[in-house]
């Protein structure tokens, strides 16, 4: 995935990785480390919490845990690669695009996800995908990362049954 990101971004020079809270942040950090080893360039990393940009506050109520947003550098003119664990409806990414626009005007925004599970509700697609898994509506894909969960694992749950 790291190679593909660099290739699609036309090199790592103006590249910036922004992970979405929570698991996306750890994945962005890991991709950054791989890019550093292969390219010898330390790509800047940031974190985005989209809780305050959700479109369902009035229907579901507030999500109690708001994570940290950290974009410590200007993103104007950069190639920003948003990193998330699972791409599903596309609503999280819609919110992330809105939030990024409040920080500046990147030359280009890409999207990299570990798992694309289908089921889009918005015209959004990922540029770099680790794995495509077709999960029916009602099913769930859980991504665990060692930093937060003590292990690296992708679990698919269909109608209550684990596979």
């Amino acid at each position: 995935m790291a190679d593909e990101i660099v290739e699609r971004a036309d090199g790592s020079e103006d590249l910036v990785l922004v992970g979405i809270q929570r698991r996306g942040v750890q994945l962005a950090e890991r991709l950054g480390r791989v890019i550093a080893t292969r390219e010898g360039v330390n790509v800047p990393r940031g974190a985005l919490d989209i809780t305050l940009y959700r479109d369902d506050l009035q229907t579901v109520g507030p999500r109690p845990i708001v994570g940290k947003t950290e974009i410590p550098w200007a993103i104007d003119g950069k190639t920003v690669c948003i990193v998330d664990d699972v791409l599903y409806t596309g609503r999280t990414i819609r919110a992330a695009l809105d939030e990024l626009a409040d920080f500046g005007r990147p030359a280009r925004i890409m999207l990299a996800v570990l798992v694309d599970r289908g089921g889009r509700e918005l015209p959004i697609h990922a540029d770099v995908v680790g794995r495509v898994i077709d999960v029916p509506r009602g099913g769930r894909v859980d991504v665990c990362v060692t930093e937060l969960d003590g292990r690296d694992e992708v679990t698919m749950v269909i109608a209550g049954e684990e596979t």
Binding site: L52, L57, P62, P64, I65, V66, G67, E70, F103, G104
Partner: protein
């Protein structure tokens, strides 16, 4: 988890430690929004908030207004001198009329203790208490707690002494209830004429001499001497108050440790606090103001978007 706080924020007395921690934990990341070039998130887009201030206030009203605007709410300020309250309209009539114009939240400051609860029980909108009489000022209590928590890392076991006019202070009550719930030790210090008779019921220590308080505490929350009440003979003179209870650098120099200094403002420099202390390296008075916006954003966010049915369910968490 919906409606984590219920419909209203009226005080800290009836909140659980978990609810208070939730507000502080939510406020923490919201601080970042005020650092951005574009200080705004769309969270409360379309919500209308009325700031209903029946008492003079600069800091609190502006802080609420910034918090509302940075969450993209639409705000209306009602100052009572220029409203129909001056023509004799009752509190409930004023609020019901505002509600008829389809509002979502009311932030109320009132000279009577209990005014916020009185209103909350009679209107559908969320009500946030911005200070009611000598009862509570919950968002001030919360911002004091956030400031201390950021300074110390935790409130558990920390010793906070509230110094001065506790009798008239809603800030003191919110501080005492909030801080003790999160495990801090709280004491008060001031002339007995400015401490409530029932102080013992709060379960806090009382110091008669400010030197003892300084010896004991990790932080001082220095209250404003309410000069407008000076005519009623609570203290002999301002100069004497400063001599006996004033927080001076000289007194702090004798402390066994560096004390964190707080003041809810507005300050009477040279009366309850000396300028070199207020502007000194251990003063967090301006941090309190910064944290105030984040705490109020957190409260607005956590109260928003809950249906009335959910608010009913949440009343279980409120022991009233």
């Amino acid at each position: 988890m919906s409606a984590p706080l219920g419909k209203d924020l009226l005080g800290l007395e009836h909140l659980s430690a978990e609810q208070i921690s939730l507000i502080l934990d939510t406020a923490e990341p919201l601080r970042e929004i005020s650092e951005r070039a574009i200080k705004k998130v769309p969270t409360l887009r379309g919500a209308t908030v009325v700031n209903l201030f029946f008492e003079a206030s600069t800091r609190t009203r502006i802080s609420f207004e910034f918090a509302e605007k940075r969450l993209s709410a639409d705000t209306v300020n009602v100052a009572t001198a220029a409203s129909s309250v001056a023509k004799g309209e009752t509190l409930v009539d004023t609020a019901k009329n505002l509600e008829a114009m389809k509002i979502d939240m009311v932030v109320i400051r009132h000279a009577s203790s209990g005014a916020a609860r009185f209103l909350a029980e009679r209107i559908e909108s969320n009500v946030i208490n911005a200070g009611d009489g000598t009862h509570e000022h919950p968002t001030q209590g919360l911002l004091d707690m956030l400031t201390l928590r950021r300074k110390f890392g935790t409130l558990r076991g920390k010793r906070i002494c509230i110094v001065g006019d506790v009798l008239h202070s809603r800030v003191a009550r919110s501080n005492i209830w909030g801080l003790t719930k999160l495990g801090a030790e709280v004491a008060v210090c001031g002339p007995r004429s400015l401490l409530p008779n029932a102080m013992a019921e709060f379960g806090v220590q009382i110091f008669d001499r400010v030197e003892q308080a300084i010896e004991w505490a990790d932080a001082l929350n220095v209250l404003r001497l309410q000069l407008e009440r000076m005519q009623s003979g609570y203290i002999p003179s301002l100069r004497e108050y400063n001599r006996v209870f004033g927080i001076t650098q000289e007194r702090l120099d004798r402390a066994p440790r560096d004390l964190v200094i707080m003041h809810p403002g507005p300050m009477n420099r040279g009366v309850e606090i000396d300028s070199d202390v207020a502007d000194g390296p251990h003063s967090v008075i301006l941090d309190q103001v910064t944290n105030g916006v984040a705490v109020r954003m957190a409260v607005l966010y956590l109260l928003a978007g809950n249906a009335p049915a959910l608010a009913e369910a949440a009343k279980g968490g409120d022991r009233q």
